[in-house]
C-alpha cells in the first residue's frame, strides 16, 4: 500500500496545489451561489427593507418606518378575519394530512402480497400528475358548481333542499375550499409514511407479535413512535404550507364571498398586484415569515423524532 502511494502522487502537497484546488471548488460553486444571491437572498433581505417603505406608482419610494406594520396590526380590517381563516385552514390541514395518509399507508403496509402493496402505492400516487390548477378548477367547476356533482347527487337522493352554491354561499365557502382533494389520500405523503413503516426493524415487529401487541395497540404503541420522524416532517411541511395557502383560494373564490375565504397571503397578493402597494405586501410577508419561523422552531424543539427518542433512551 505504502509503495503505491509513493509511485502515484495522490495528493501532491504544497500551497499552490491547495490554492488552485480551493479556487476550482469556488468556481464550481459560483453558479449556484450567484443564483442564490440574486433570486433568494436579495429578495429575502429586500422583503425586510421594503416593508419599511411605500412604493407609489410613478413616485420615488417613501420611507414610512413601521407604519405598514401599524396598519397591519391596528387599522386593516381584513387582517383579523383572514388570520382566523388561515388558522382554521392550517388546523384542518394538520388534522387530515397527519392522519389519513398514515392510516392508508399502514393499511397498505399490512397487506400480505408485495404486488398488491405496490399497486396501491401507485394508485394513490397517480393524482399528482394532474396540475394543481386543473384540480382546483375541476372541483370548482364540476363538483361545487350550481349544476355540479354535489348538488346533482343531493337531488338524486332526495335531499334537494340542501343544494346551494357551495363556493358562493358565505356559510359553506371556506369549508368547500378546504374539502377540495377529499379524501386527502392522494400524493406522496403516503410514500413518506410507508417509507417510515418499512423502516421499522423486523426484530421490533417480531418482538411486538410475541408480546401479543397487535392491531390498534401495535399501531399506537409501536408504529406511531417509530414513524415519528416522518410525522414530524409532515407536521413542519403542513404548517409551512398551511400558512402560505392562497393560490387555491384565489382560483376557487378570489377570497370571496366578501372576505369569507381571504387569508393574509392572498391579501398580500392583492395589495402587491391589484393595489400596487408593494411595501405593505412586503410587511404582510414579513409577519407571515415570523409566524412560520416561530412554529417551525417550536416544532424542532418540542417534537421528538424517532432518532432523538432512541438517543434519549
Amino acid at each position: 500500500m505504502g509503495s503505491i502511494n509513493q509511485d502515484i502522487p495522490l495528493k501532491p502537497s504544497g500551497l499552490s496545489y491547495k490554492l488552485t484546488g480551493a479556487l476550482s471548488c469556488y468556481a464550481l460553486l459560483l453558479a449556484p451561489l450567484a443564483l442564490l444571491g440574486v433570486f433568494v437572498y436579495a429578495p429575502f433581505f429586500w422583503a425586510f427593507a421594503g416593508s419599511l417603505y411605500e412604493f407609489e406608482v410613478g413616485a420615488p419610494a417613501q420611507f414610512v418606518g413601521l407604519n405598514n406594520f401599524a396598519e397591519i396590526f391596528f387599522r386593516d380590517p381584513v387582517i383579523g378575519p383572514s388570520f382566523i381563516n388561515m388558522v382554521l385552514i392550517t388546523v384542518f390541514m394538520l388534522c387530515v394530512r397527519l392522519t389519513i395518509p398514515l392510516i392508508v399507508a399502514k393499511l397498505i403496509y399490512s397487506l400480505p402480497g408485495e404486488r398488491s402493496r405496490y399497486v396501491y402505492r401507485i394508485i394513490f400516487l397517480v393524482p399528482i400528475v394532474v396540475p394543481m390548477v386543473a384540480v382546483q378548477l375541476i372541483w370548482g367547476g364540476m363538483i361545487y358548481a350550481d349544476r355540479g356533482l354535489l348538488n346533482e347527487l343531493l337531488e338524486l337522493v332526495g335531499l334537494g333542499q340542501f343544494t346551494t352554491g357551495w363556493l358562493s354561499n358565505p356559510r359553506t365557502a371556506l369549508l368547500a375550499c378546504v374539502m377540495v382533494g377529499f379524501p386527502f389520500a392522494g400524493g406522496i405523503e403516503i410514500l413518506i409514511y410507508y417509507a417510515g413503516l418499512s423502516g421499522i426493524p423486523q426484530s421490533v415487529n417480531e418482538a411486538a407479535k410475541l408480546e401479543g401487541c397487535v392491531g390498534l395497540r401495535k399501531f399506537f404503541y409501536i408504529d406511531i413512535p417509530m414513524v415519528m420522524s416522518q410525522i414530524k416532517l409532515m407536521l413542519v411541511l403542513t404548517i409551512i404550507a398551511g400558512v402560505q395557502t392562497y393560490e387555491n383560494l384565489f382560483i376557487l373564490t378570489r377570497g370571496g364571498p366578501g372576505f369569507q375565504t381571504t387569508v393574509p397571503a392572498l391579501w398580500m397578493y392583492y395589495n402587491a398586484f391589484s393595489f400596487q402597494r408593494m411595501g405593505y405586501a412586503c410587511a404582510i410577508g414579513v409577519c407571515l415569515f415570523v409566524v412560520v419561523f416561530t412554529l417551525t422552531v417550536l416544532n424542532m424543539r418540542y417534537i421528538r423524532s424517532t432518532e432523538e427518542l432512541e438517543g434519549a433512551r
Binding site: 484546488g21 460553486l29 433570486f39 400516487l125 386543473a134
Partner: protein, 315 residues
Amino acid sequence: MNKHLQTGLIHAVLIMFALLTLVPFAFALNNSFRSNTEIYHSFFGMPESVTNAIVAARRVIQSDNTPVDIAETDGTVRSAPPREALRENISLALLNYQRSWALIRPYMINSFVVCAATALGVLLISSVAAYTLSRNRFPGNRVVYYFIISAMMFPGVLTFVPTYMVVRELGLLNTYWAMILPYMAGGQVFAIFVMKGFFDGLPEELFESARIDGAGHLQSYLHIVLPLSKPVLSVVLIMNVIGSWNNFMWPFVTQSDGQYHVIASGLFVLATSAFASSFSTLFAAYMLSSIPLLVVFIYATRPFIRGITSGAFKA
C-alpha cells in the same frame, strides 16, 4: 379464515379510498368526451359519441349493416351505416380534444421549455455543487453549505413580492428567464441538501480505488457518483418537474403579457375567459395538461418510489 377476512377488509377500505380519490378525475375524463349540450342535459351519463362508436365498431366486426346513431354537436341525431358512423363518432369524441389542443398548445410548449431548462439546470449545478461540497476539503466548505441550506427556511410567501421586484428591476418580466432563473435558484437548495446527504454516505473506498486507478474528480463524478445516485437524482428531477409544471401564481404575475403563459397559468386564463362556459373544452384541456406528467410518472415511478423509500425524507 380470520386472516383472509382481515385482508379482504383492508382491501375494501383501500378500494373505497382509491375510488373517492379518483372520482373527480374520472368525471372530468368522462365529461371531456361529451358535448356541452350533453353535460347540461344529464350530468351523470356516458359520452354518446363513445357509446355509439363502440356499437358501430361491434357491428363493423360482426358485418352487421344496421345503421348507427350519430349525435351531432347541435343536438340533432342522424343515422349512418356502421363504417361511416364509427369514423364520425370517433372524430366527434375527439372534437373537444382537437379544440382544446389548439388553445393550449402554446402554453404546453412554454411549460416544456421552462420545465426542461429548470430541471436540467438544477440537476447539473446541484450535483456538481453537492459533489464539490461533499468530497473536497477547502476553506469555507461548511460555511457555504450552511449558507445554501439556510435558504430552505425562507418561505415563498416572504420572498414572492420582493423576487417580483428583483425580476422587474432586471428587466426579465414577460420572458422565459423570469421563470427559469428563480425556479433554479429555489430548486437547487433542496437538491443540494438531498444530494450532499446521499454523496456523504457513499463509501470512501470507492473513490480511493478510483483515484488509485488514476481517475480525477471529473471521472469520479461521471462514473461513480452519477450512476450510483440515480434514485436521488430522479427524486430531485421529478420534484422539480412537478414543481415548475404546477407553479401557477409566479407565471401568472410575471407573464402578464400572456405571450409566455405556461400550462398552469394558461388553464386559469382559459377558465376565466370566454371559454368559461364551455365545460367540454375545459375538461379536455385539463386531461391534456395531465399527460406529460403521466408520461414522466410511468417512466420514473420505480426509481421515484425507491428514492423516497431510501429514507431521505424525515426530520
